[in-house]
């Protein structure tokens, strides 16, 4: 129910963007009470769909005048509650700003509005020989605006880098309603690198309204390999061996036996049922030299004890292999009615250790855990299986999750590789950073967002209210 105090704001928003671009009925707002993170929920008071940057600026000014919080939302696929409207207020949904404004192949950039779905851009580039490199597994649904907010990664970011490496410039609406351009199509603009500051700021500094993204030439050739291992340690040692040999694969992904069972049931690839782990290794680049890299990788894996390493037979097998990897999380539904995916990072050489620890932690708490992850950059995604209707299981999964993330920090890693802090992991910020670190970040946020009306209670713990108390084991889906 819209609180009576906000009725005038809904009317005023309607005058700016038109009635068809404002939702204020309770039954229209319920679906906006959470995103891919379903543990904490809160309805916004109003949802507004701007059609232009000027609309966004006008909306922000209205929010200031009424002193209500506001936050941006794209496709709502955040796994950390990044789009959760803490404290209600106005939700600025950017899905109607979905134009690809310009594609400039000679200068290798494109200008897109924030509501453009990641894959739409790559589809629009089909046949040009270029693509947009960051490819999160949710790329069929998530928006470029959301990618910028969370500095999204993806399997191919091991070689090509994450969103910040592909963002040339940002147009954003500041919290006072002014419209500012940061960076732009040319490289290395002078002044402070605020583009880099904004990417990954999880919607706490500006509302992104336009993005200049870098376009990447498609590689001339690709070799995709499948390594089958009899122990998880052999697989993780192979990862370090490959990178240690100076090879940077385009992607290096691992799945353990637990997840392979589900993936095999879903996609019938033909993974050996007794394999303890598989690696999906892809190298790309100039055709000349790829075969040599492939042979070296095969050799290294066999030295580490691989049972079998082979190249994907053809394009169809390569696609199926990638489908198995990218949709692996969905297949987990076959193992358990609910699941919670963690997102941690450890130095690559600690992978054998952290996987063993995850196994022990699971055993200790009586929670089954399976693993699928971006092995090349040490970004682990342990999946904890449970039934959300059993409070005792939830308790155990929560404890196990916390222990795994603490272990990641102890290894010198971090509690999120790509999903972001959002509201979910805000309580870990004090474990990752000391007071001075946090104070520096807070001062930066205050410079952009002095009244803390934009995305309040996100990412940085505020004094006295360090995030929400978690009563549930985090998200059930992850990418």
């Amino acid at each position: 129910m819209i609180s009576s105090a906000l009725l005038p704001i809904a009317d005023e928003l309607r005058r700016v963007v038109g009635g068809e671009n404002v939702l204020a009925a309770h039954s229209d707002l319920v679906v906006y009470e959470c995103d891919g993170f379903v543990i904490e929920k809160n309805c916004p008071d109003v949802v507004v769909f701007p059609r232009s940057t000027e609309d966004v600026a006008a909306i922000v000014k209205i929010c200031n005048r009424y002193d209500v919080p506001f936050l941006p939302r794209g496709a709502g696929t955040s796994l950390a509650g990044g789009c959760l409207p803490v404290g209600g207020g106005v939700m600025i949904v950017l899905t109607r700003m979905k134009q690809i404004l310009e594609i400039n192949l000679r200068d290798r950039y494109a200008i897109v509005q924030p509501g453009v779905v990641n894959l739409w851009l790559t589809n629009a580039l089909k046949g040009t020989g270029y693509h947009y490199a960051p490819d999160p597994s949710s790329q069929g649904a998530c928006t470029i605006g959301g990618n910028v907010a969370t500095n999204s990664g993806g399997p191919h970011t091991l070689k090509y880098g994450v969103t910040v490496n592909h963002t040339l410039g940002i147009e954003g609406v500041m919290t006072d309603g002014s419209i500012v351009e940061f960076g732009g199509p040319s490289e290395d603009s002078p002044g402070l690198d605020l583009t880099g500051t904004l990417v990954g700021s999880e919607g706490t500094l500006v509302v992104v309204t336009k993005v200049w993204v870098r376009l990447t030439r498609n590689p001339e050739g690709v070799r995709t390999m499948l390594g089958v291992f009899d122990s998880a340690d052999d697989a993780t040692n192979s990862i370090s061996a490959i990178i240690g040999a100076g090879i940077i694969p385009a992607a290096l992904e691992m799945m353990d036996q637990g997840i392979l069972v589900a993936v095999e049931a879903a996609f019938h690839f033909g993974f050996p049922p007794d394999a303890k782990a598989i690696l999906l290794i892809e190298v790309d680049g100039l055709e000349a030299g790829l075969d040599a890299q492939r042979d070296r990788i095969v050799e290294l894996c066999l030295q580490c004890g691989a049972r079998e390493v082979r190249q994907a037979r053809d394009a169809a097998e390569r696609l199926l292999l990638w489908k198995c990897r990218k949709q692996a999380f969905g297949a987990v539904g076959r193992l358990s009615p609910s699941y919670c995916t963690q997102d941690g990072v450890v130095p690559r050489t600690k992978l054998p250790y952290i996987l063993r620890r995850i196994g022990q932690i699971g055993e200790k708490h009586g929670v089954r855990i399976v693993n699928v992850f971006h092995a090349g950059d040490g970004n682990i995604h342990p999946i904890l299986l449970f039934d959300e209707r059993d409070p005792a299981q939830i308790e155990r999964v929560l404890e196990a999750s916390g222990e795994i993330l603490d272990e990641c920090i102890a290894c010198g890693g971090s509690v999120t590789g790509e999903h972001g802090i959002g509201v979910e992991k805000i309580s870990f910020m004090r474990k990752l950073f000391n007071d001075d670190d946090l104070a520096a970040m807070t001062r930066l946020r205050v410079a952009f967002n002095p009244d803390n009306r934009l995305s309040p209670a996100k990412m940085l713990p505020t004094a006295g209210a360090c995030g929400m108390e978690q009563k549930h084991p985090g998200r059930r889906a992850a990418l």
Binding site: A25, D28, A75, G76, V93, W120, G330, P337, D390
Partner: protein
């Protein structure tokens, strides 16, 4: 396949009150949705409106909230659920295997039954046109006879230019504009057509209702192509509409009657397959087994197991390659009820690849609904028009002048959009092209 079927139910959820439209739905089907949102961009209505209430995840959330009793079934909620095309693109996109059709279909049936706004099943258009005219081929043929004559005498342009159509209620106007060039009336198919060459199979042909009235030439083409491929073709006389029109509009009982008439009309033991050439009907016939739970369910399941789409059947049988060259550039549109509901995407393309000379161009957003969606184009004209305009725009980017698809609704919808925009396109069924190739004839371009 389904997790909910495999997992026991150790923790009970509170059952919804019987008057709640969600009360008849297996609650575990809701739990399959992990709220990841990967379905959203696959949904045509969400892609158009950008409103999560008009996307699959949002609709599931609305239905679940109503079922849980935390949200009232308001007019707004109804509108979001009614706006769903039931195209099932979300099922293709969903990595968790959510069976969206099994949620939205019974929910809408129950939503109609519980009344409230409930105008759909009660308004004149549904009662007289959709429910009492469409499902009956003989009535349809009688109803379109004047249009056939008007087209023959070239009167339809006069009618249009005088604005006479505007005298009709909007949905009837829409209906008249959907009518394709009807051509000469063709005779009904005989009850039996023998295989040509060595006999490879014996099949029964489902001819449909609206399909048989408007697309009888395609039914003839289907029979001929089957004969060419060594099939005896039986055309049972007492068959009826598949029931999809009623079922998708939330009227379950008449649909069950049609289903049982069909189960009685086809002798499953006598044939290798029951062939259907309209994707929408095929999806419904294949679903007979689980729509209703009563003593006749086994018979319906036996029937459903025999149903094969014509593309699927010929692809599995192994097409005897046609020899007539058709030197044209074409593009193929995936009908939702073939691609998403029946998961048949490669079979029609493989068949078309066997036609000498035919060049097939990829269609951008091929699997996004064209807006026809059964009778959706008549009941939701605005959204339907947005989607057909989008579809035509995509078609035109391919440069193809022939659009091939395997569903009656898409054929009508795309052809109408092209006519309205003055684009010369030939919209045809896969089988129409195969038939021409076997007969060494050329399309009427």
């Amino acid at each position: 396949m389904k997790q909910s079927a495999e997992h026991p139910e150790p923790f009970e959820s509170a059952p919804a009150a019987a008057s709640n439209p969600g009360s008849g739905i297996d609650y575990r089907l809701f739990l399959d949705c992990v709220h990841c949102g990967l379905c959203t961009a696959a949904c045509p209505t969400y892609v158009e409106t950008g409103n999560e209430n008009d996307g699959p995840r949002g609709r599931i959330y609305l239905m679940r909230s109503v079922t849980d009793g935390r949200l009232e079934l308001t007019q707004e909620v109804r509108r979001h659920l009614e706006l769903c095309l039931d195209c099932r693109a979300c099922e293709t996109a969903c990595p968790s295997g959510v069976q969206y059709g099994k949620l939205i279909e019974p929910f809408r049936v129950a939503m109609e039954a519980t009344g409230g706004g409930g105008e759909k099943s009660h308004d004149w258009f549904h009662r007289w046109i959709l429910f009492r005219l469409f499902p009956y081929p003989e009535r349809m043929r009688a109803a379109i006879a004047p249009a056939r004559w008007a087209q023959f005498l070239r009167l339809e342009r006069l009618v249009e230019s005088l604005g006479l159509l505007n005298l009709l209620p909007p949905r009837l106007r829409q209906l008249v504009r959907m009518l394709p060039p009807l051509g000469k009336p063709e005779p009904a198919l005989p009850e039996f057509l023998p295989a040509i060459g060595p006999r490879r199979a014996r099949v029964a042909l489902f001819t449909g209702c609206v399909g048989d009235a408007i697309f009888r030439p395609t039914n003839w083409a289907t029979a001929r192509v089957l004969q060419q491929n060594g099939c005896d073709v039986i055309v049972p006389r007492n068959q009826a509409c598949c029931g999809a029109i009623h079922f998708h509009a939330g009227s379950s009982e008449p649909a069950r009657d049609f289903a049982d008439r069909n189960v009685n009309a086809f002798d499953c033991d006598d044939v290798d397959a029951i062939i259907v050439n309209v994707a929408g009907c095929g999806a419904m016939l294949k679903d007979y087994a689980h729509h209703w739970h009563d003593p006749r369910q086994d018979a319906r399941e036996k029937f459903a197991r025999k149903v094969k789409d014509i593309n699927e059947f010929l692809d599995q049988l192994g097409l005897i390659p046609p020899e007539g060259a058709i030197r044209l550039t074409a593009t193929y549109h995936d009908a939702c009820h073939l691609g998403h509901a029946q998961k048949l995407r490669e079979a029609p393309r493989r068949l078309l690849a066997k036609i000498p000379g035919l060049v097939l161009k990829d269609l951008p957003e091929t699997d996004l609904c064209c807006g026809a969606a059964g009778t959706y184009n008549l009941t939701e004209p605005e959204m339907s028009a947005r989607l057909s305009q989008r579809k035509l725009k995509n078609i035109l980017t391919t440069g193809a002048r022939v659009v091939i698809t395997a569903n009656a609704g898409c054929l009508l919808q795309i052809a109408r959009e092209a006519r309205c925009q003055g684009e010369k396109l030939w919209v045809a069924h896969t089988i129409d092209l195969l038939d021409l190739s076997y007969r060494r004839e050329q399309p009427p371009l």
